[in-house]
Subunit: 337 residues, 4 copies
């Protein structure tokens, strides 16, 4: 850690900062320039985390040197993590596609949708059983019944399934039914939930929070990994900006930046980012071109009558056409499909 | 709800939208202008929430007429809600001040801090027992032990206590010890937690999420109220913007806007917003001037050795001076203190 | 325009709003619902722009029906605009690439760079002669001398040239030397400059402002078009968000959204958006996949010694490789190259 | 400047960075830690500005030590700047208030407004003659005629006048008529305009850009000061965030942060920030409480018939009441009025 002192820092100020650092067991290096005195703390920076360094008298600014995440970092593990979900290899050279309805509504509709997306090339089925809705008066999902229907759809199609977990008390029942546990954007910093899914061994798909920096996103993944579960898939799904033409702003630069920082696979969900079905296709193709390991796309057999997020759901026929187009882009950037 | 159709909407398009609306039982009003056809849906808009209106063919834009929140709205209840917490009347003409350390560390330090803030004019004691930390490697709080120390501090000083709840599984033990349950910014849309605190009868202080609109903030309060608990205090604590000079950007315009919309009392937490103790005083005074019902301020007997958020904590002596200044501003804007 | 009145709007309130609307010559339609009275103003909304409708007593909210831009809208002109710049057809099915150094430094370096980008497939040369720099102490460009060097590079390579205009007083000299006049992000709402370039007949490349909504972006294009110049190329170059991992956040969803709204061609500049050369390639490919009509990319023969923005400039060899990759993606999405 | 190298930086990488720094004449200090090698560049950092340090091979991150602004910094000048505008001392202990209509419309209305705001306590008159409007079809101001009317209002009331300059070609005529030249938010990084007003000797009120960081804001002030004009007043007027309940988000924390960094006086314009007259009063009071040196407030004799921004303009009677309230807050925070 580098500590820059204010212009006229006295010896007393310097000594005080030095004492603080030495108190943690770290070594100190002092550099007195013409304009500023700079103090370097040498050793494990984590030991300094409890010191409010920037609030010490005479301190102008503080700059950490090391990344706060370890287990999920590329430094910790150079080669990319490949997660095997019932034979589907996530993080490998093949582009993987998760598709399905926003929420599970009934058995026939779900199985029909599952068969359809499978035939178009998707290899994991999504479906919400517990839905985080902004309004308490909106449809909240079928609950455990929804998980059971997903399990039936898996049996019928062979597609592994993913669904969103919102409450630590539901962890056990999720482990019984789903193949990948999803943590939604609104719970990205629900640290108790992260700790809980860190203790299980099912893969976790972690969505980026609406206002989360990439650093915070990786720290949330670190929460899961710190408990022993490093089967984590990161998913960019749009961030909140001042622009209102789309529901959120899909941050595709997140993909190459994360690729530099972490060994975890990275997915992109264009459906939730844009909020309108007719924008999903161009952004799905862009996500593949930018280097995503997979896509997560909402498909509903009858969007106009969906109980949730119909506006952003593709009809199966449009999804089939999108898969054709996505395939071409995937091949153009050296991905298998 | 008003639905604007695209310029050359056909009769088929019009009929389709009309059928959708009528299918919910609402009445329809059609206005054909020179440039656009406009359809009004007359009646309870909530019935339309499942229809992806903006995604229907030929629809250009959709505008709701009614507010999505009811129980927390000023329309529902004109006079301001006053919440009595062990005799402290929140939402009344008197400015109320919550103060105390970021996290509970030990008995002596906590009771010393409590006595000190009480003598300076604070009338509710804050202290974190379960801490939401960005890093899994940082101090996570004393847990239930922290709640017990808070209860002891209450016994010693008579100050009612507030602490943050992060996990629905801890609700019961919180009800045993604390007087106000705090829901933190990161959990503002943890809907399962909101539902849980909606079922209890303790007052809830709900912090605005880092990227929450005021409408979403009120919808989260509605989640709590919908379960039967309308003893809710809203707390502005800074939003995330592009500016990095302060940790977050304190949105003081939120106070008069919320005052127009809701009958709930509104607090401001300048400490978390700015992240630096020397900016807390001017923003605390501004919060009072803008019309807040109360303040929430971090105070620590020895910020340099605080286990959490020392950079933004005031020393008791600085807090005492701030209370003197706050009092003057409060009186200038017609508040008692 | 739709005007929603507050719940208990009196007849006096209604009459007042109606009088205001009628005063402009527009017709009025009143709809009294159970919850709200709604007033529709029928006719040319532009006539209402001077009335502070939302501030009239009893008005709750106001919703415009028509788009504020006309000449640049798709309603005004259905087929896409194709701009011919010395034989390079912008907006056509072929992907066009503008490349070159951030700033013009000297003749040899510029012509070398121009030849190199041409041989890799670029067909327009960029180069800054007047540079908008955040610091007054940084290199501000060669000025008119730079324009002359660009003209020489054009003569040597046949590539048409583009350069940024910052001051209305320089318009004439720009018209003498450049083929496309660029208006930078910081001047997107420099309305006097927009008016000036509206009066000339050279094509204008207008960059989106750092905090401009797409609606404001189109309104700025409308400023130019309203003066008679509709040879306008829009360029997305990243917006300002809370994320600091990249310099700005490239908003690729802007491309399909703009395609719905306007007939103007749309370019993407990934170099300025991300600020780091190693992120340029993935985002350039994504821009093509999402449907951009062209790219604008910074290339410098020796980025380490560039006088400006070296961090984001590609070496010619890296640019050549990128063009190979971009070509594959272009073909995959049905573009010629 | 501190340069942090990547984990496994080779000697070649180190030598290359060192050579780059030494090439500028600065001295180098190398610190090899267990985890990272850190290089310090000692001396005038401005000399490094042209080196794309973060793009050099093996560089992980770069941290400037010195502030990029000099003349406007508190280090350069410890005591606050006081600007004398026709006897009105800006930056002194007295709170100063600029008030008047958004745009100058006609002589009677302007002089009536001027007399009224003067009698309520304002001591500088504002009025737009050239208006930056988002739409080319909206009222663009009276131009020079408007400046002349302002001069007449000054003669009638004795109030010094301020008006917004948008075009460098108008600088001379502004110097003839106005006492303070305003640079609007949209032109905060119109560097040619900044350079122009740096050459004159009239005081300049510089508004913060909608998406400008405080550092950029100060750099724009530095542009003016670097030309020799340090009579600069900074004005916070709201920044763009995701929140749409107010037009912009007034960032009141900017005031104490700027007070730490610069010796220039700081004003706040709540009218443009919130966009609605009924929110102006609470935020004006908050601005005074947070420490602003002055306010800028829109007042119009008949807001419903204002040609511009009527929604945010106060009626003279409401402004008079606000001044009473503002006075109380000013006195409470130790300001004269």
């Amino acid at each position: 850690m580098i500590i820059v002192l204010k212009k006229d820092a006295t010896q007393e100020v310097i000594d005080h900062v030095v004492d603080k650092i030495k108190g943690t067991g770290l070594a100190v290096h002092i550099s007195k320039g013409k304009e500023r005195t700079i103090i370097g703390a040498i050793g494990d920076e984590a030991l300094l985390s409890a010191i409010p360094m920037e609030a010490l008298p005479g301190v102008e600014s503080v700059m950490p040197i090391l990344k706060p995440y370890k287990l999920v970092s590329k430094e910790f593990r150079k080669e990319g993590t490949i997660i095997d979900v019932e034979g589907v290899k996530i993080g490998d050279t093949t582009l993987q596609v998760i598709a399905g309805p926003c929420s599970v509504e009934n058995k026939d509709s779900l199985i029909g949708c599952a068969m359809s997306v499978k035939s178009s090339g998707a290899n994991i089925l999504r479906g919400g059983a517990f839905k985080p809705r902004t309004s308490p008066y909106d449809f909240q999902g079928l609950g455990v019944e929804g998980l059971k229907l997903l399990a039936e759809a898996k049996k019928a199609t062979g597609l592994p399934i993913i669904s969103e977990l919102m409450d630590p008390r539901d962890t056990e029942v999720f482990c019984e039914y789903v193949d990948i546990v999803q943590i939604g954007a609104r719970n990205m910093q629900n640290f108790r939930l992260l700790t809980e899914v860190g203790k299980i061994r099912k893969p976790v798909l972690l969505k980026r929070g609406l206002a989360a920096t990439l650093k915070e996103f990786l720290m949330s993944a670190e929460y899961i990994a710190a408990q022993g579960n490093s089967n984590i898939i990161l998913c960019e799904r749009g961030i909140r900006t001042y622009e209102t033409a789309t529901r959120n702003t899909l941050d595709l630069s997140a993909v190459p930046v994360l690729k530099e920082e972490t060994h975890l696979p990275i997915f992109v969900d264009p459906s939730h980012a844009v909020g309108r079905w007719n924008l999903v296709a161009p952004l799905a193709k862009a996500a593949v071109a930018v280097g995503a390991d997979g896509l997560m796309i909402e498909v509903h057999p009858d969007p106009e009558n969906a109980l949730c997020d119909g506006a952003q759901s593709l009809k199966p026929s449009k999804f089939a056409r999108l898969m054709e187009e996505v395939k071409k882009v995937a091949l153009a950037v050296g991905r298998e499909f």
